[in-house]
């Protein structure tokens, strides 16, 4: 079988992956194909389990004789451990063991820059020790009995300060640090250029430059991070609240030096995974080590504060965007300088993709610096970089549109790009124009001036929009198996996970469609490495576009066998037969048909004493390569209506219309649900969420869900989804693209533009709290007294 290298993207990081080209993969359904299950509003199959409480999350896993683990974490943002004494903690009745750097295997961490337990601590929350005890409370009680002495070291908490030559160095001159580039990850910024930006700015009639500051946002998953590890002989089972059962298994095999086949990782349900659960964590490794050492299962659950201190975040960014356009609105140049704080160890803090790709612009340059600071390490956070980058870029677009006297929507349409300008490729499909049109129509964008009259006294209405781009192509590796049983029911075993996005339901629909079975004749397993073939992480909006073609291919293989069987029974050539709604039928004479469950009866037979024995049909599928000659992206546009009280600074988001295109629409119910979740999280970024670090101590002062504010039901506006169904036959055989991340991307930008529309001034920093609104109004009054900047003679 032919093997090819194919480009696979995850959260903006591109890799080439070897993949076997499937020889018998079904062709993509035609755009107008009448499908029986796909595109239909099937309620999510895991709904009853979740609402009844039957769904078991990792937090619910309790085993007999189970021990509990708790972490002792660094109270300092930068310190060296000078002495460590665990004897008092170990003496506490019920404590089984205390793990520290002194008695734990030398396991490297953070891309070899640190260890499972390091003696240099680089952020508040860094792991110092782990206590294992007979119950959770004793483990917690033992923590203050651990005696640690530290040598405190100078620290830095923000990226701009960290870049200054006299800032404390967070990593002392390792091989990964270029000289003279203090705290700059990789020693230099990452650069991108196309065209000639100086020429572009010279050609512009209007040039503007603004700096946007977005704070660090924590994931705040409803289910905090947790694992349970149990050994049976040399076999390890780990329940982990993760987005990556298979990658966690592989990491455990490597770290513990045991065979992959000896490890089972299970996560059937997870209470939120927004990128913080994409890979193995220290606590999982330690739970496995402790469970082996102590011969009993070990459970570790992080509390809300630990989750905020040490389980990743969306990095803070300082983004300076310079933009120029002609009087008619044509963009001539765009530049971005981004300083992102990755935390104490290597991570990504780039935000430039939307600026490089969304709008047609011949002259573009970006310079992005990932900077170490003494705070927790960034992790991908739902549409990493895109949320912040879009929030800044979309405001720049509105400012330019205003200068040109153009409607913001017309300005965007003027700069519509039909090609991927970074890769010089056409788009496979691009439903953005339709998203603009249908979204604007639903929102009443063109008639919004009439609604401006709803402004009452100090409460001003405003309207804004923003555009969304995301990869969402998915790609290999991803595998699936489908079994068809003698009673005409089928089971799907798919790699990847359902992290709450209704992936089980989507995969089941794909298999049902291909097999021609009603959805209630199928069951599905995902999220168990022993029960399913391999799938990569469920993140980056990759699960559906990666796994759906594999599931379809497996189902198609089973269907082929079924039709062979039916052909013999019906005395017709198999090629003439197909399936639909539970029947095998003759395509040339559809009234000749036979229930699938009748066909499969032949698989069942008596055996000897009357035991029932059955054969079954089994099909295997995998994800083939991505197309090399097109760029696959998902698209969207959101429209926001807000009311801002100019005397109190309070913002109420009244309405969001979210129009999104992610290829074939698999299920309008689950797609709308995904969009609503994204909009709500985007609203949190725009209005509420910010990690606050205290300069005098390096501590996060709002590591709880009261002070770290996420939206409540009373903050959530009416959200109207506009689902653009545009099957992408080039993307994959199911025509789907990812919708997990797209809906969070444009929300903050649309809200920011609506707020600016209401106020007449802009808030250049999120979250847009009453404080920042009032400050911007104050500043706006000062600025208005000055001549307009940016206008060229």
């Amino acid at each position: 079988m032919a093997k090819v290298l194919t480009r696979v993207e995850l959260n903006g990081v591109v890799n080439d992956v070897w993949v076997e080209v499937p020889e018998n993969e079904p062709a993509a359904w035609p755009k107008q194909a009448e499908l029986a299950v796909l595109g239909k509003p099937l309620p999510r199959v895991d709904g009853p389990d979740k609402v009844s409480g039957r769904a078991k999350y990792t937090h619910d896993v309790n085993l007999s004789h189970m021990l509990w683990m708790k972490f002792f974490r660094s109270p300092y943002p930068h310190a060296r451990i000078t002495s460590l004494d665990t004897s008092r903690a170990e003496a506490l009745p019920g404590v089984k063991r205390v793990y520290t750097y002194e008695n734990t295997p030398d396991i490297s961490w953070y891309a070899n820059r640190s260890k499972l337990f390091d003696t240099t601590l680089r952020f508040v929350g860094d792991e110092v020790a782990a206590v294992v005890a007979v119950d959770e409370h004793i483990a917690a009680d033992a923590l203050p009995l651990i005696d640690v002495e530290y040598e405190e070291m100078p620290y830095v908490l923000d990226a701009e300060t960290a870049l200054s030559p006299d800032a404390p160095a967070i990593h002392e001159g390792g091989p990964q640090d270029a000289p003279g580039a203090r705290n700059l990850q990789g020693g230099r910024p990452s650069l991108y250029t196309r065209g000639d930006v100086e020429k572009g700015f010279a050609e512009a009639d209007f040039v503007i430059e603004h700096t946007f500051r977005s704070p660090c946002q924590v994931h705040a998953c409803l289910e905090t991070h947790c694992s349970v590890a149990a050994w049976q002989g040399d076999k390890l089972t780990v329940w982990d609240s993760t987005q990556a059962v298979h990658p966690v298994r592989e990491s455990l095999a490597q770290i513990l030096n045991i065979p992959i086949a000896n490890i089972r990782v299970i996560c059937l349900y997870s209470g939120g995974g927004f990128g913080s659960k994409l890979w193995i964590n220290k606590y999982t490794v330690l739970a496995a080590l402790a469970a082996r050492d102590l011969g009993r299962p070990v459970k570790v659950t992080l509390d809300r504060e630990e989750d905020a201190l040490a389980m990743g975040n969306r990095p803070a960014n300082v983004m300076t965007i310079r933009a120029g356009c002609k009087r008619d609105g044509t963009l001539t140049a765009l530049t971005l300088k981004n300083i992102g704080s990755v935390g104490a160890y290597n991570a990504g803090a780039g935000v430039g993709t939307p600026l490089r790709e969304v709008y047609r612009c011949p002259n573009v340059s970006t310079e992005e610096s990932n900077v170490y600071i003494n705070a927790d390490v960034a992790r991908p956070h739902r549409a990493p970089g895109h949320v912040q980058g879009t929030w800044g870029l979309e405001q720049v677009l509105d400012i330019l549109a205003e200068k040109c006297g153009l409607d913001p929507l017309d300005f965007r349409l003027r700069n519509y790009s039909d090609t991927d300008q970074v890769r010089n490729l056409p788009y496979s499909t691009k439903g953005l124009r339709e998203a603009y049109e249908k979204g604007a129509e639903k929102f009443g964008w063109r008639d919004r001036t009439a609604r401006q009259a709803l402004s009452r006294g100090p409460k001003k209405r405003g309207f804004g929009l923003a555009t969304q781009i995301w990869g969402g192509a998915g790609g290999p590796p991803g595998y699936a198996v489908v079994n068809l049983y003698s009673d005409g029911t089928a089971a799907v075993f798919s790699g990847g996970q359902d992290i709450g996005s209704a992936t089980r339901t989507s995969m089941l629909q794909v298999a049902a469609e291909e097999l021609g079975l009603p959805a209630d004749k199928l069951s599905i397993v995902m999220g168990d490495t022993q029960g399913t073939p391999y799938g990569f992480v469920s993140g980056g909006s990759r699960t559906t576009p990666s796994q759906a073609p594999a599931v379809r291919m497996a189902a198609a293989e089973v269907k082929g066998q079924l039709l062979e069987l039916a052909g013999k029974q019906m005395n017709l050539p198999a090629q003439r037969l197909s399936t639909r709604e539970g029947y095998v039928f003759d395509t040339q004479n559809p009234s000749t048909r036979k229930p699938i469950a009748e066909v499969t009866k032949e698989l069942q037979f008596g055996f000897g004493t009357g035991d029932r024995v059955q054969n079954m049909l089994i099909g295997k599928g995998w994800r083939g390569p991505n197309p090399a000659d097109v760029s696959v992206n998902s698209w969207g546009a959101q429209f926001a209506e807000v009311e801002v009280d100019i005397e109190t600074g309070e913002i109420r988001v009244l309405r969001i219309v979210a129009a999104h295109e992610a290829g074939r629409l698999v299920n309008p119910l689950t797609a709308s649900s995904q969009i609503e979740g994204g909009v709500i999280q985007g609203l949190g970024f725009a209005l509420f969420e910010e990690r606050v670090l205290n300069n005098a101590s390096g501590r996060m002062v709002n590591a709880n869900l009261h002070d770290y504010k996420i939206p409540t039901m009373k903050d959530i506006p009416e959200i109207e989804s506009v689902l653009i169904d545009l099957p992408d036959a080039r993307a994959n055989s199911v025509g789907v693209k990812g919708l997990g991340e797209p809906p969070i991307i444009p929300t903050p930008g649309a809200i920011a533009n609506a707020v600016a529309d209401a106020l007449g001034v802009r808030v250049f920093e999120t979250p847009m709290t009453p404080q920042r609104v009032l400050e911007a109004l104050e500043k706006g009054l000062v600025l208005r007294a000055q001549p307009e900047e940016g206008r060229r003679a």
């Binding site: 109190t648 101590s697 002062v701 002070d707 903050d715 709290t769 104050e778």
Partner: protein, 326 residues
């Protein structure tokens, strides 16, 4: 968490016996349990006031006014018909406290005695002045939610929504201890950091709040409670204003303006009251009263916005209470 004993106190006398430096009162527990879990307190004994049914009452008569037992829950206060009729601003203030679930548990006495929400105070690792430590982290730190008035070595704001509303209705508080029962105006119950930097009120460790009483408002009394918060529910005030105006036509006979979340105590504004008393309420008068209320405000590095915010809110509350369009 340290082990503690949990003892029912069916009477105030029993509660006083059980109390002491190592004991804490618990009623609704909505604040106390947080303090326990956050490691801010580690008492040896919790004295359960809820065992004392005698402190759970809400009575109104035109001659005596309103009497609230300390164990009255915020939900009971919010939904009571006489409260809604005679003290509508009080019901309005309670309605924007926390969340319905918390209001079902939280008590009137507990709300008045709750500890500050200052994020430095609430962080067990930071030894701030309110916890007897050497510095107030707000002074050089993130102080957007902190005091603009009345701070002194500590810049917490008093978190209660109930207190400004009650004070604007001239409430009195009664509490009992080994020396007997004391009754005083609620405003005098609260103390700023210059008086006691580690406590927000006069209540001693062995004293128990028993009752809040409010006189019957005079005819023509109108009240308004306004609260600004970052989030639309389950959030403490960024700023709040309780305004009670006794109106005679367009003229204000008597006024009580009390601000919340501006100072370490609920902050009465007698200078504003003076501007309003005897005045015909106009936007200009309201503006002058608002300026008077904020006289002496000293914002810190990140909370200057609270001054115009407070002025806007005071002005708005006055005009709304007087029924004057802005």
């Amino acid at each position: 968490m340290r082990n503690f004993e949990f003892v029912n106190a069916p009477t105030t006398e029993r509660a006083i016996e059980l109390l002491g430096p190592q004991a804490k009162l618990i009623a609704g527990g909505t604040d106390l349990l947080d303090e326990l879990k956050e490691g801010l307190i580690a008492p040896e004994r919790l004295v359960n006031l809820k065992a004392n049914r005698a402190l759970k009452y809400l009575r109104f008569s035109p001659s005596e006014g309103l009497r609230l037992g300390a164990l009255t829950t915020l939900s009971e206060l919010e939904t009571d018909r006489t409260v809604r009729e005679h003290y509508p601003m009080l019901a309005a203030a309670v309605r924007v406290i926390a969340s319905p679930q918390i209001r079902n548990m939280a008590t009137v006495g507990g709300n008045l005695c709750q500890r500050p929400r200052c994020w430095y105070y609430r962080n067990d690792a930071l030894h701030c002045t309110r916890k007897g430590g050497p510095i107030c982290y707000a002074v050089s730190g993130e102080n957007q939610y902190h005091a603009i008035l009345g701070g002194h070595l500590c810049f917490i704001v008093h978190p209660s929504d109930l207190a400004p509303a009650l004070m604007a209705y001239d409430a009195r508080i009664s509490y009992a201890g080994p020396g007997g029962r004391k009754t005083l105006p609620l405003g005098e119950f609260f103390v700023g950091p210059a008086v006691n930097i580690t406590r927000e009120n006069l209540l001693q460790p062995n004293e128990v709040v028993e009752e809040i009483s409010l006189p019957t408002p005079a005819a023509g009394t109108r009240g308004v409670y306004l609260k600004v918060r970052d989030r639309n529910t389950w959030d403490f005030a960024t700023l709040s204003v309780a305004a009670v105006l006794e109106m005679d036509g367009a003229t204000c006979r008597r006024a009580r303006i009390v601000l919340g979340a501006v100072a370490p105590v609920p902050w009465p504004a007698p200078d504003a009251d003076k501007v309003l008393t005897g005045a015909r309420i106009t936007p200009e008068v309201a503006r002058r009263a608002a300026d008077a209320a904020l006289r002496g405000a000293r914002p810190m590095s990140h909370n200057a916005h609270k001054v115009p915010l407070a002025k806007n809110l005071v002005r708005r509350a006055i005009l709304k209470a007087a029924g004057v369009s802005p």
